[in-house]
Amino acid sequence: MKKIIYSLLMVLTVIPFLAACGGGEESSGDGNSSQEITVNATSEPPSLDPALATDTTSGWVIDHLFEGLYRKNKSGEIEPAIAEETEVSEDKRTYTFTLRDAKWSNGDPVTAGDFEYAWKRILNPETGSSFAFYLYYLKGAEAYNKGDGSVEDVGVTAVDDKTLKLELKEPTGFIEKLLSFWSYYPVNQSVVEENENWAAEADGLVSNGAYAMNTWEHDNELSVTKNDEYWDKDNINMEKITWKMVNDATTYYQMYKSGELDMIHTLPIDVISSEKDSEDFKIKPYFGTYMYMFNVDKEPFTNPKVRKAFAMAIDRESITEEIAQGGETPAYAFVPKGVDTPNGDFREQKENYFDEDYEDAKQLIEEAKEEEGWDELPSVELMYNTSDNHKKIAEGVQEMLKQNLGVNVTLNNQEWKTYLDTTKQGNFQMARMGWIGVYVDPTPILDYYLGDSPNNRTNWVNEKYDSLMAESKEVQDEEERMKILHEAEDVLMEDMPFMPVYHYSQNFLTSTDFEGIVYPVNRYPDLRFAERK
């Protein structure tokens, strides 16, 4: 009997030993001086087809693969890219672009026809693109996309291979920003027509930007290499970019620590305090706002004074410093920092729209009670979508409202898609939401609360606001446009169908071996100009 036990024990101990052999040399950390960088996309990009991509992860890769008529340069400013010359008509409705000599990664020339084809493809109802509405600024685009118009009436025409004519519905002040956005990127017509699934695998994907597709193992990693056909390739130093798809925060943090990743974003909250002082650590503002929407059709939020009082009664500093902890900044308005205007940053031109003043807030509640004839403030339920972080913040707000305002708020949470359904139907009094601007301008932020915006779940409709926003889209003078947008935000913040909590931020650990990485306020880092020292 003993013998058997011992021999079995032998087996038991020998196997792991054998298994461990050869595990010694491992492949991680190709710590040489080659111009390669490995970053983390956290998940598989749902689509690398510029017509179908709707998320920032896909956009991150697409921005390295493709290039539009305009692009962002090293300092984040918009500059002409494929457009060599731009001619604007008197009425500012017609743009004629002369394209530079640019090539696709397969050697084909980039033609005006590729642009026309790409834009009409997005607008084609059969493509089912959810970002088609970003092209509604083009004449006839909306009608075609909604099935009421024909493709011939869409305001984009390739006059010849080098000349692209763009007709706008209205003069549009921020057209260059739009043209640098991925929905306006060209696609190679012959490649796309040949293979409907051209962007699904590394093999078929042909691009015209700084990088060309190299490998793509779904859900695992994706790599791109410098595009030798790129017209501006002399200014690109990084030879290869690899995106890993590691979703778990602790895991990608450990991969960064072991050198398997050169840059990570969104650190696990519990390591932020220990990394804060490290040279690798960076906090960058992110162009978005975390907020609580008020349903203005449900008591007590029918009264604007109650909405204002709630906004004034929470301590944003302690929410960002003690609860969120990721470098967020307290928000006292809707449009975040980051918009350059002729007179400096849009946000910095205005003071805070309200103060955190608990006494005044209490006073407002009393006034509201009197106006409405309430003996007690109607009970309030605060809703958020199920998540630990939202829960912590909601509990903080609940406590603050109780302490500072003497109001009891109950909490309720729902799983994301159910939550979207509930809030869309207006079955809430006060509910959490976040909003990030697709391009850095007050417009995509402020459009959120337009009366007919599907995002506006508050039932708040204000004619003056809507007409100011409409006016801002037609004005050509940038200073004038910003003035109108400020007025619109004034109207919004006067009525407060929502209360801002904080402006988002992004945090990073980036290996100090690299320089030249650009951190845009509404995108993941731009690695095109990165370089290993």
Binding site: G147, A200, E217, K417
Partner: protein, 308 residues
């Protein structure tokens, strides 16, 4: 005859599962196209719904789905713009299966060994040690064990890469993390089964006849003790092969485990159905194989349908 009947029952089971999943899945609130960036005009939404047949009444959708299913087409994924459900599974299954197979082997080899050692050393030090280990294995959740393994074996000692997929080194830590709990269960199963068998009269008889103890343990003991363990291996194999959400997430493995969970949060109906059907098929097939292997281990067991 038995095999034909079994296959027909299997098909029927899959149909029932498909139908139930279809009904339950459509009764959860929420829209696959809803997002916080709810900017789509109704007309565009209608286009997208039409693309996935979601504009049809439910019974029609159901029939359309069964039609595709009969041709082994699990339909397009709503979430992934470019890959359909067949491709998602084809892309992800190999990684999950490699991981699952390795864990299965680890769990079986070490689990059986531990169980046998414990049983043969009943109430001895080795018995307590292996059962103590088994209890630890069952009670430490994999989402704790996995980061611990990473922390020591990858970050501190640099023996293996932290996570991701590609070389065989990448497979070791997740296999171990995934195998620990089933290993412990197998060990406990095997121990009690072995104890029972070793007390049987035929073992005593064999011993009395003066047969070598090694022969008795291997030929009579282990072989008979395996039967209850085999019935546990069927479902275990199905679970391990089809991937697990937690391990695949922590180790960033491109498997199919996450689709079981993510598809529900995304209301990605074709993926919910596809993964459920895929999992049930594997489960049903392994159960079938288990039934057949009983016969090999114990020829007395007859394969027959009920009532015959």
């Amino acid at each position: 005859m038995y095999i034909v009947k079994r296959i027909l029952t299997m098909l029927l089971t899959i149909w029932v599962i498909t139908t139930l999943t279809f009904i339950i899945m459509h009764s959860i609130p929420g829209d696959p196209f809803a997002s916080d960036a709810d900017v789509l005009p109704e007309e565009v939404l209608a286009n997208m719904r039409a693309k996935f047949n979601l504009d049809e009444p439910l019974p029609v959708q159901y029939v359309l789905y069964l039609k595709d299913l009969a041709q082994f087409d699990l339909g397009p994924s709503i979430q992934s713009e470019t890959r359909d459900v067949n491709t998602l599974i084809a892309d992800g299954f190999p990684a999950s299966a490699v991981l699952g197979l390795q864990s299965l082997v680890i769990a079986l080899v070490f689990g059986l060994l531990l169980g046998i050692i414990a049983a043969l050393n009943h109430n001895g030090i080795l018995d307590y040690a292996s059962m103590g280990f088994a209890i630890l294995g069952i009670s430490i959740p994999s989402f704790i064990l996995a980061p611990l393994l990473i922390n020591y074996f990858a970050v501190d000692w640099g023996m293996f890469p932290v996570a991701s997929w590609g070389t065989w080194q990448h497979t070791i830590l997740p296999s171990v993390a995934l195998a620990t709990a089933p290993l412990a269960i197998v060990a406990r199963f095997m121990r009690s089964s072995m104890l029972e068998v070793m007390n049987q009269n035929y073992i005593k008889t064999a011993d009395a006849k003066g047969l070598a103890i090694t022969g008795i343990v291997i030929k009579h003991g282990i072989r008979n003790a395996l039967i209850p363990v085999i019935s546990f291996i069927g479902p275990l194999a199905a679970f391990l092969l089809t991937g697990t959400f937690v391990i695949e997430k922590i180790f960033a493995i491109p498997g199919i485990g996450k689709y079981f969970v993510d598809s529900i949060f995304n209301r990605d109906f074709p993926v919910i159905l596809g993964t459920t059907i895929f999992f049930s098929t594997i489960l049903i097939v392994t159960l079938f194989l288990v039934d057949i292997s009983y016969r090999i281990v114990d020829p007395r067991i007859k394969l027959s349908s009920k009532g015959e």
